[in-house]
Amino acid sequence: MSNTLLESSNQWIKSDLEDSKRTLQRHKLADRIATVVMSLAALLLVLVLLSVISILLYKGLSTISWKFLTSAGTFTEAGGGIGPQIFVSVYILFLSLLFTTPLGVGAAIYLAEYAKPGRLTTAIRFSTETLASVPSIVFGIFGAIVFLTIMGLGYSVLSGALTLTLLNLPLMVRIAEDAIRAVPNTYREASLALAGTQWETIRKIILPAALPGIITAIVLTGGRIIGETAPLILTTGTTISPNAQYSLNPFQTGETLAVHIWVLKIVGVPGLKDSQAVADGTAAVLLLIVLIVNIGAAYLSQRLQKNQRGAR
C-alpha cells in the first residue's frame, strides 16, 4: 500500500519535473527565436542602407565627370551638367550659414553664460524647442508669406537662405550650447581670477575651447542645408535664369541640387537632354556630399570628446 503511494508520488514528481523541463525548453526556444528576430531587424536596416547607397552610386557615378559638375544642362546636345545648381547650392549654404552661425552661437552664449532661471529663459527655451518641432514645409509657408510677399524679396536665393536660417537655428543653438556648457567651470574660474571680464572670458577662453563643437554644429547644419528641398521650392523657386547662371545677385531665383532632382523626376523639364541620367548623377553627387559631411562631423565630435577627456 505504502509502496504504491510512494510510486505514484514519484510518478507525480517526475511528470512535474518533465513539465518544468518542457516549460524551460519552451522559454529557451522563445528566447532564441527572439534573439534571431532582433538580429534580423538590425540586419534589415544595415542591408537597406547598403543597398540604398550602392544603388544610388551604381546609377549615378557613371554620369559624374568634370564636365557634368561644371557645365549647365543643355537642350541641344547630350552630356549636360549641373554646374549652375552646384553654384546655387553653395551660395545658399554660404548665405544661410552667414546668418545662422552668429545668431545661433550668440543665442547659445546667452543661454549658457548669461541667462538666469526665470520666465524669459523659459520662453527662449520653449521657443527653441517649438521651432525645432515645426515641419520644414511650414517654414516654407512662413518664408513665402514674410520674405516673398511682405518684404517683397520674391522667389530668390536670399528668401531661401533666410528661411533655412530660421529652420536651422534650433539645431545650431542646441549643439553650440552643449559645446559651451561642456567647457569645464575651472576654465571660467581661472580666467575670472586673473581679473578677466566676462566678455574676455567668453572670447579668449570659452569660445576657443568650444570651437570643435561649434564647428560640428556648422558642419551638420551645412549638411541639412544641402539636402533641404521643400522650403526652398516655396521660397527660392525651381528655375535658374539662363542668362544669370553664376550670378552672385541674391535676388535671383535659384534651384539647388536637391530641388533639381525633384524637378527632373517629378515636374519634368521638357526637352532637356538625358534628364533621367542627370537626375541620377545629381543624386549620387548629393549622396557623396552628405556622406562626407557626416563622416567629417563624426570625426570632429570624436576629437571633441578626446579633448574634453584631456581637459579633465
Binding site: G106, V146, P170, E228, T229, I233, A298
Partner: protein
C-alpha cells in the same frame, strides 16, 4: 565704462536669443492669421468636412489631405514602431560594443539622407514593387509613401527607444536574471513595460516626423487631391504634399489661404503631438 561695455555685449547676445522667441511667435501669427483668412471665403464646416479639394472649382475640403496624412502616418507606425523597438533592443541587449557602433552609424546615416533621395528611391524601387504586387494602378499611393516613411522614421524612433532602454536602472536587469529569466523573458516582462513612457515618446515623435515629411511623400503618393482615396494603392495626397505641389501655382487668394490653413493645421497637429509627449513623460517622471 567697463560696465557699459559689459551691458552692451550682453544685450547683443540677448538679441540673438530674443530672435528665436520673435521667430516662433511670428511663425504662429503669420501662418495662423493668413490661414484663418480662408474662413472669410467659406465656412469652417465646409472646410473641415468637405471631401473634395479642387482648385479649378475653388472647392477646398480638407478631408482628402487630412485622411491621407493620418492613414500614411498610421500605416507607417504599425510597421515602423515594432521594427524600431526590435532594433533598439538588439543594440542595447544583444550587440557587442562594436556592432552597436555600426548600428548607430547606420541609423545616423538614415537620418542624414536628404528626403528627396528617399523620394527618388521610393520612385524607382517601392512604387514599381507596389504596382507589380497588386497589378492595378500606378503604384503611387498611401502604401508606397508609408513604406518609404518606415525607414525615414527609424532614426527618431530607434534613438529615443535606445535611450529609454539604456536609462533603466541596472537593478531591473539583475532582478530578472536573478529569478532565472531568459533574456527574452527579461525584455518582455521587465524592460519593455518599464521603458513604456520612453517608447511611447519615440512612437509619437516618429509619427510627427511622418506627418510633417514633404518631399519623399510627394514623390510617391500620387498627388490626387480631388477625393478621399478608396484604397491604399490608388493615388492620394497628404497635407505637406498638397502644400508643396499647389502653393507655388496658387494664384487665387482663396486657394492660397486654404493651403496656408492646411499648413497651420499641420502646425497644430505637430504641437498636439509634442504636448502629448510632454504630458506622458511628465506623468512618468512623477510616478518614478
Amino acid at each position: 565704462m567697463v560696465l557699459k561695455k559689459a551691458i552692451f555685449i550682453q544685450s547683443i547676445f540677448f538679441t540673438a536669443a530674443a530672435i528665436l522667441v520673435l521667430a516662433s511667435l511670428a511663425l504662429m501669427i503669420f501662418v495662423g492669421s493668413q490661414g484663418l483668412h480662408v474662413f472669410s471665403y467659406m465656412n469652417p464646416l465646409e472646410f473641415f468636412t468637405g471631401t473634395t479639394w479642387d482648385q479649378n472649382t475653388e472647392t477646398y475640403g480638407v478631408l482628402p489631405l487630412l485622411f491621407g496624412s493620418l492613414a500614411t502616418a498610421l500605416i507607417t507606425l504599425v510597421i515602423s514602431a515594432p521594427l524600431a523597438i526590435l532594433v533598439a533592443l538588439f543594440m542595447v541587449e544583444v550587440a557587442s560594443p562594436r556592432v552597436r557602433q555600426l548600428m548607430r552609424t547606420t541609423v545616423e546615416l538614415f537620418a542624414s539622407l536628404p528626403s528627396v533621395i528617399y523620394g527618388l528611391l521610393g520612385l524607382v524601387i517601392v512604387v514599381p514593387w507596389v504596382r507589380e504586387s497588386f497589378h492595378t494602378g500606378l503604384g503611387k499611393g498611401i502604401l508606397a509613401a508609408s513604406i518609404v516613411l518606415v525607414f525615414m522614421t527609424q532614426p527618431t524612433m530607434v534613438a529615443i527607444t535606445e535611450d529609454a532602454l539604456r536609462a533603466l536602472p541596472k537593478t531591473l536587469r539583475e532582478g530578472a536574471w536573478g529569478l532565472g529569466a531568459t533574456r527574452w523573458q527579461m525584455i518582455w516582462g521587465v524592460l519593455l513595460p518599464a521603458a513604456r513612457p520612453g517608447i511611447l515618446t519615440a512612437v509619437i515623435l516618429g509619427m510627427g516626423r511622418a506627418i510633417g515629411e514633404t518631399m519623399a511623400v510627394q514623390m510617391v503618393v500620387g498627388n490626387i487631391t480631388a477625393r478621399v482615396p478608396k484604397s491604399f494603392i490608388t493615388g492620394a495626397t497628404t497635407m505637406p504634399a498638397a502644400i508643396v505641389t499647389q502653393l507655388p501655382e496658387a494664384t487665387s487668394p482663396e486657394h492660397r489661404a486654404a493651403l496656408i490653413m492646411v499648413g497651420f493645421l499641420l502646425l497644430l497637429i505637430t504641437f498636439a503631438l509634442i504636448a502629448t509627449v510632454r504630458l506622458t513623460t511628465g506623468g512618468a517622471g512623477v510616478r518614478r
